[in-house]
Each structure stands twice: as structure tokens, then as C-alpha cells.
């Protein structure tokens, strides 16, 4: 068995474990070339790409026909290199439109979107940066709230991992209406305090049932604990209904 046996597996494990920071540029390129060259050693190709007159930037943005002739590689490889360059350019420039969830309408609509895809009673945490753009979402647990042993760390840990500044909680109630129960109200207040202590802002905790949502945060801060307010969309605009709507 040669010393290079299992090389690709080791590289992938290292990428998973340590990320890209500990890799030299030619090693990163070598790893990317694995995807176009299934069996051969990609190290020489990576070096040839870097040694060109314009370095890596030139290699990633060069016309693929030219890459073919300079590198003597196959079309499959030349296309991948050009694709990586174009994706990098677009991704870094952020040229695509970014949706900002900076209004109550946008947040409620996001909550309803999650509820549409969630068949069970569950709670999701949505992570946003300080510009209100979506960083990710995680299903933090499934089941009825009171039955789950809820800990704020369930939210704080993934939020920090995402580099989030703000969090939106969405609890889905597919079968029992968008009514905030006392346990949800209490947990919202606990989460709000716990997340602030690690520099995270809890934007809201929406309880969603179908196309109706209620804010557990409003409910937690409301003086009249028994009054409920529900959000729904009517002709694409958000409408607030007082108790009795359901």
C-alpha cells in the first residue's frame, strides 16, 4: 500500500475537522480538482494552475478553452475551474438579491413558511445577522413544549456557531391553533434573558398554526395576560386580529 493510499479521504477529513484555514492554496485547489479528476494525483495540475502568469485569479477567470490548451486537462476540469471562479465572484460580490427579514411582515411570513413545511408540533430557531439577512435555521426540538426539557443552550449554541446577531423562534401548532400557552410565554421570557447574556437578540417567538400566527413575545410582555392577538395575511398585507378571531 503506497503512502498516497487514502490521501483524498484524509484531505476531506481534515477539511471537515479544521476548515480551509489550515490548507495552503495549492492544497485547496488540489482538493477542488478531486471533483473533476476522479483517480489521478491532482497536485501537479494545482501547481501548474498557480504557476500561470496571473496566478490563481487568472486561472479561475481564464477562458476555459485557454485552460484546456495551457493545462492540457480535460473539458470537465476546465469547466469546473471556470465555474469555481464565477461562483466565487458572484458569491463574494453578493450580486444576488438578499432578502432582509427586517419587518414584522417578513418575519411572520418566514414563520408561516416554516410551518407549511413542518407537519409536526416542533420549535425552530431562525438565525439572522445584524442586517436581518438569513444565516440558517435549525429544528431545535419536536413535541409539545411542556413535555420537552427546554434549555436556552439549545438555541444559543447553534446561534453562535452561525455567527448570528438575532434569533427568531417559531413553534408550530398544526393541530391546536395559534394560541400561546403559558409554558411558551414563560420560556420566551427565559430565552430572551438568556440570549441577551451572550449578546444575542431574540426578535420574537411566533406560534404558528396554518396561516395564523401569534407572538409569544407580545404575549409575555402584555399586561393583560388573557388577551390574544393574531397575525394573518389578507391580500398580501399583514392583519392583526384581536381575541375572538379563532
Amino acid at each position: 500500500m503506497g503512502i498516497h493510499t487514502g490521501h483524498r479521504k484524509r484531505v476531506k477529513e481534515k477539511l471537515l475537522r479544521q476548515g480551509t484555514d489550515s490548507f495552503l492554496t495549492h492544497e485547496l485547489l488540489e482538493a477542488a480538482l478531486f471533483y473533476a479528476v476522479p483517480y489521478q494525483d491532482t497536485n501537479p495540475t494545482a501547481h501548474r494552475l498557480l504557476d500561470g502568469t496571473d496566478g490563481l485569479l487568472g486561472a479561475l477567470t481564464r477562458d476555459p478553452q485557454e485552460t484546456l490548451s495551457v493545462l492540457g486537462c480535460g473539458e470537465h476540469t476546465a469547466v469546473l475551474i471556470r465555474l469555481l471562479g464565477e461562483l466565487g465572484r458572484r458569491g463574494a460580490a453578493g450580486t444576488s438579491a438578499i432578502t432582509l427579514y427586517d419587518t414584522r411582515e417578513a418575519l411572520v411570513s418566514l414563520g408561516m413558511e416554516i410551518a407549511r413545511e413542518e407537519a409536526k408540533e416542533a420549535t425552530w430557531a431562525v438565525f439572522l445577522d445584524n442586517r436581518f439577512s438569513l444565516l440558517g435555521k435549525t429544528r431545535i426540538f419536536e413535541g409539545y413544549y411542556a413535555s420537552a426539557s427546554f434549555r436556552p443552550a439549545l438555541i444559543a449554541e447553534p446561534a453562535l456557531r452561525h455567527g448570528a446577531s438575532m434569533v427568531l423562534l417559531v413553534s408550530t401548532h398544526p393541530d391546536r391553533g395559534a394560541r400561546v400557552d403559558p409554558y411558551e410565554r414563560e420560556t420566551t421570557a427565559t430565552c430572551h434573558r438568556a440570549l441577551s447574556s451572550v449578546g444575542l437578540k431574540l426578535l420574537d417567538h411566533l406560534v404558528v398554526s396554518g396561516s395564523i400566527a401569534a407572538s409569544a413575545m407580545e404575549s409575555a410582555t402584555s399586561r393583560a395576560k388573557n388577551s390574544y392577538r393574531f397575525y394573518r395575511f389578507c391580500n398580501e398585507s399583514l392583519v392583526l386580529d384581536e381575541e375572538g378571531f379563532l
Partner: protein, 241 residues
């Protein structure tokens, strides 16, 4: 929507048509290279959830895997921005001095490209303001409790640098500094002055923009070279934050 054809995609790229292709086509092609099952559906789902290519490419491998990507394809997606960031960084000529704010700013925009988390860099400059070293100091928010000022002082002294420049990013945010940014700068300035490596400036980088904090506060370092601030920057004061 038109079904994706990998062969047609490759022919299009070979004919120089990639710039006119949609984000969806590009992402689907990348997932096809990653041998992702149902690449088109996965690409549509990711674009629907995260709304932009930029957001998807900034996801961690773990997050991509939780969105249903195989490890193999998640690792490929995760390589795009780091490779592009290296390409930009390598294209920057480090022989020329970082003796103006716009040149330092351009260098930092390259350095922070694709950085997902708040990261702090310490730039160490020679007497002629050319770059001696660029060290990643910490990842996470900048404040005096997480920043080890002794480590900064050691890095400055051991490198033999004449000047230091600090920089950190606000991923997905604006260049407006926080109170912590300002307080930490004062503390680091004192530390580096003590060891004789003056902190010329502290830059905040966000979304293609940068702000030299000391200049914005109206307290530029007296050792900054003549004509260092070759652009106008907004004014910031601690009282208004």
C-alpha cells in the same frame, strides 16, 4: 423552469457564456460535480431558503449537510469562497507599501473576502510601511475580554515590526463601530504604544466597505504617514453610539 442539462451547461461554459447563466444553473452544476443526488431540486431548495447564492456559499459544511447535502458536495460548496478569497489575496502586490488608507482598505477587502465569522487581523508593517506579516488574532467579537492584549504585544515585538494596524470585520453588517470596538481600540493602542509599535489605525470592514476608526473619531495617530487619509470618512463619536 427549464430542466438542467449538465452537457448543455458544459458546452455553454466552453463557449464563454458563463457570465450570462443564472445562479440556479451554476449551483446545480456545482452540485452535479459534487455527485449530489437530485442536484436541481437541492439547488432550488437552497436558493428558496437562503434567497441568494452569496448566503449559500457562506454556510458552514455542517449547515449544508443539515440541508441534505452529502459530505462530498458540502465540502465542494465550502471551497468556493475560500478559493476566491485566496485568489484575490494572492493577486495583491505586497511589495507596495500600505501607506494610504485606500490601499490598506483594498488589501483588507481582499483579506476578509468570504470570512463568515467576525475575525480580527493584526497587520505588522516595516519602517517603509510594506507588509511584514498579517496575523489572524482571534475569531469572534472584538472586546477586551476575548482579545489577549499580551499576545498582540508579543506578536508585534517578536516580528520586529515598526507599525501595527488592526482590522476586524462585521459579517453581513455595516462599518458602524460598537462601543466595544472603540473601547478595545483605546486599550490596544495603549498596549502597542507601550511596546513601541504604534497602532496606526483600526479598520472595520463590512460588505465591500471599510472604515478607519481612529480617523473617523477624529484621533488619527501622529505617526501615520503624511497623506495617509486619501479619502473622506464619516465622523463617529462614542457619545452618539
Amino acid at each position: 423552469m427549464t430542466p438542467f442539462s449538465f452537457d448543455a451547461f458544459k458546452s455553454g461554459v466552453m463557449e464563454g457564456e458563463i457570465a450570462g447563466m443564472t445562479d440556479r444553473a451554476l449551483l446545480t452544476a456545482l452540485l452535479t460535480y459534487g455527485k449530489q443526488k437530485e442536484p436541481q431540486e437541492t439547488s432550488d431548495r437552497l436558493l428558496h431558503t437562503y434567497r441568494s447564492l452569496s448566503n449559500i456559499l457562506r454556510l458552514s459544511t455542517r449547515d449544508l449537510m443539515s440541508e441534505g447535502l452529502s459530505t462530498h458536495s458540502a465540502l465542494l460548496v465550502g471551497l468556493v469562497l475560500p478559493l476566491w478569497g485566496r485568489a484575490l489575496f494572492d493577486s495583491f502586490s505586497l511589495k507596495e507599501p500600505l501607506d494610504t488608507s485606500s490601499r490598506t482598505g483594498a488589501f483588507l477587502l481582499h483579506r476578509f473576502c468570504g470570512e463568515r465569522l467576525e475575525t480580527v487581523y493584526l497587520l505588522l508593517l516595516r519602517e517603509d510601511y510594506t507588509l511584514l506579516d498579517c496575523q489572524r488574532v482571534t475569531t469572534g467579537s472584538i472586546n477586551t475580554t476575548t482579545l489577549n492584549t499580551r499576545a498582540l504585544a508579543e506578536a508585534a515585538v517578536f516580528s520586529g515590526a515598526s507599525y501595527a494596524v488592526l482590522a476586524h470585520n462585521h459579517p453581513g453588517g455595516t462599518t458602524i463601530p460598537s462601543r466595544n470596538d472603540i473601547l478595545a481600540t483605546q486599550r490596544i493602542q495603549e498596549t502597542l504604544d507601550t511596546v513601541g509599535v504604534p497602532l496606526l489605525e483600526h479598520y472595520i470592514v463590512a460588505e465591500g466597505e471599510y472604515l478607519p476608526l481612529l480617523e473617523a473619531q477624529g484621533t488619527p495617530h501622529p505617526k501615520a504617514p503624511q497623506g495617509y487619509y486619501d479619502k473622506e470618512y464619516p465622523c463617529i463619536s462614542l457619545e452618539t453610539l
